[in-house]
């Protein structure tokens, strides 16, 4: 027997293909998932319609007409009817998507950034720091998120930027909790110990070994929050705490249209349907991303 070990690799165990990056694999998984693709298509349509609303919308969303109030769906010139002030509903829904989606995305993004930082810190340092951070956050947890959003928003005063702040504050503790628990798990894994054995500093270990493995799960969790954020934002607007009329926004539209719920229920329900469809699409997509990101199969 020779002293050195010959290692003829079986052809099967090492397919001769270039190594693929993690995200390529995830993307390939995702592309094969019909549910993910359908949700993505719906979202793309809604986001596209909102972004390009000024060019695509058939009418001016602010132009009211007293004689054309509450026209039903399919009326000539008004594909989706008109609202209680005679404004074209299709145009208002398209324009409204801009604010609604913004209100859905911005607080989640902000909370993702802030929450991950705090969570990483709490999880990696552990001990008393962790205890202190997590107990403070537990106070926020004691209130239902709707109530908390309303309370903070009310305290800050109505207005869009205040709603954004309120929603961010609602989501931060939730993101922190996920980031903290994932970090605590990752921190105990052997590759962190191995990195410590190499004499690397805490900052280097967090950057190279912890962050990459924590961001994924937290990101997926945050994606799930998008729909919650949209619904909460709509709720704030509905209560008069968020966007002010006559700005088009789905929650606010639902509020103002509620008087028409008996005379023209289909038209009145449309903003709600959009909120529902968008949040479902976000959720389904998040689910698919979650399973695609688990590439060990």
């Amino acid at each position: 027997m020779s002293a050195t070990l010959p290692l003829p690799l079986p052809a099967a165990a090492a397919p001769a293909q270039p190594s693929r990056s993690y995200w390529t694999v995830v993307w390939r998984q995702l592309r094969r998932d019909p549910m993910a693709m359908a949700s993505a298509a719906v979202l793309l349509l809604i986001v596209g319609a909102a972004v390009f609303a000024p060019w695509l919308a058939p009418a001016d969303p602010y132009k009211a007409s007293m004689i054309k109030r509450l026209l039903p769906i399919g009326s000539p010139g008004f594909l989706l009817g008109t609202d209680e002030l005679g404004r074209d509903l299709l145009s208002r829904l398209m324009h409204g998507g801009r604010l609604s989606l913004l209100m859905g995305v911005v607080p989640v993004l902000a909370a993702f950034g802030i929450g991950t930082t705090i969570g990483l810190l709490a999880g990696y340092v552990g001990g008393r720091v962790n205890m202190a951070i997590m107990r403070v956050l537990d106070i926020f947890y004691a209130f239902p998120s709707v109530l908390l959003a309303v309370a903070i928003s009310g305290a800050l005063g109505p207005g869009m930027s205040n709603s954004l702040i309120a929603l961010t504050l609602v989501f931060v503790p939730q993101v922190v909790r996920v980031a903290e628990s994932v970090t605590t798990q990752v921190r105990q894994l052997d590759y962190i110990e191995a990195a410590r054995m190499s004499g690397a500093g805490a900052f280097s270990i967090i950057r190279t070994h912890v962050l990459g493995n924590v961001l994924g799960p937290v990101f997926v969790y945050a994606t799930g929050l998008l729909s919650v954020s949209m619904i909460l934002a709509s709720g704030l607007s509905f209560l008069g705490l968020g966007v002010k009329p006559p700005e088009p926004e789905w929650g606010l539209m639902l509020n103002t249209l509620r008087s028409a719920i008996y005379s023209n229920p289909w038209v009145a329900a449309l903003p709600g349907v959009l909120i529902f469809v968008t949040s479902i699409a976000f959720n389904l997509l998040a689910d698919s991303v979650r399973s695609a990101m688990d590439i060990r199969k």
């Binding site: 050195t4 290692l7 690799l9 190594s19 052997d190 054995m197 190499s198 004499g199 690397a200």
Partner: protein
């Protein structure tokens, strides 16, 4: 087992060949058990309770024992992955306790570890080459990437094929080779192998054991080999230390331990290995029951609950590690080996 301990100020090597590479003295670690936050009385798991040993340069010390005996905790304490409650580590004549900051970093490079779970010990987001080069790069070594490829080649993984791969694309044996390569990246002097081959399939385990033996000879490595597999420990080790409930109960050269075990627990452990001969199957189990819970170890000798030779003296007096001959390096902690202990069977159990 004892050597001159004058701390030598030389930065690299040499308390001389006679100086053990690692001396561990009276190492202790107790983990608090949280029963309830209102419970005033605190309980402790006596994970490691006064462990002494030394590893000569270029040798392999095998640590064996069942789950809960403290062998893995010992490894982590030596690696300084967790602080010890008490005890002293002397690395090549220098006390590790005084190491701070840069010195600690330096010390860590001398001592590397390979873990049992080949998957959990690799960052799933880094390629194999990145993982191996990470440590050296942190220390600002310029040729880190080049060196990583050389190491891959050395552990039997073709760098052109494997360098850019991710851990989940490798088999268990290949991943463990990567872990070994990473441990070698600093040219360490002591490598702690914590159940490093336990999770591997038999056919692959043999490959990795061969690789470890070659590397040891090539790089003058010293191994601390922790395992529950007595066959593998026998194959790889020069010295063996048997632990039970956080204490060393027997230690010595491998032929002595396997040939003339002096502690009833060691004897039981050795005869619990399945026979490989269908005509001579094991007829009776050497021990009854499971390893006890390390939260409340029994008084006196901790093995007495399961020991076929237990006697009143075993409960009242804790047996000390005694040399089984004159400077034989074979130590055992059992009253049976001490005629002065007062154990009625002691005289019959004297060594041949």
């Amino acid at each position: 087992m004892n050597a001159a301990l004058a701390p030598t100020p030389a930065p690299h090597d040499m308390g001389g060949p006679a100086q053990p590479l690692l001396i561990v003295r009276d190492l202790k670690k107790h983990f608090p058990v949280r029963s309830s936050p209102l419970d005033r009385e605190r309980k402790f798991v006596h994970a490691v309770d006064g462990v002494n040993f030394s590893v000569p340069k270029g040798k392999t010390l095998g640590i064996v024992g069942e789950s809960g005996c403290g062998k893995s905790t010992t490894a982590r304490l030596v690696a300084r992955l967790m602080p010890a409650d008490a005890g002293e580590l002397i690395f090549d004549g220098e006390g590790v306790e005084e190491f701070r900051g840069l010195r600690l970093k330096e010390f860590r490079r001398n001592l590397q570890m390979v873990f049992q779970d080949s998957f959990a010990s690799l960052n799933p987001r880094l390629t194999i080459a990145e993982t191996i080069a990470y440590g050296p790069r942190v220390h600002g070594i310029a040729r880190a990437d080049h060196q990583a490829r050389e190491l891959l080649d050395r552990v039997g993984l073709d760098p052109s094929h494997f360098a850019g791969r991710y851990p989940h694309e490798l088999s268990g044996g290949q991943r463990q080779r990567v872990n070994i390569a990473r441990a070698l990246a600093f040219d360490p002097r002591l490598v702690i192998l914590d159940e490093a081959v336990a999770a591997l399939d038999k056919s692959v385990q043999a490959q990795v054991l061969n690789l470890l033996q070659e590397l040891k000879a090539e790089r003058q490595l010293t191994y601390l080999f922790i395992s529950h597999d007595l066959h593998v420990v026998h194959y790889l080790s020069d010295y063996v230390m048997v632990m039970y409930l956080g204490q060393v109960i027997e230690s010595g050269p491998v032929e002595r331990i396997y040939g003339h075990p002096a502690h009833p627990y060691t004897r039981a452990l050795l005869s619990a290995v399945p026979s490989m001969d269908p005509e001579h199957r094991t007829q009776a189990s050497p021990l009854a029951g499971d390893p006890p819970n390390p939260i409340n170890p029994p008084s006196g000798c901790r093995f007495r609950d399961r020991c076929p030779h237990a006697h009143a003296v075993c409960a009242s007096a804790t047996p000390a590690l005694r040399d089984m001959g004159r400077h034989s390096e074979h130590l055992a902690a059992c009253h049976l080996n001490d005629p002065a202990s007062g154990h009625p069977e002691a005289h019959q159990e004297q060594r041949p």
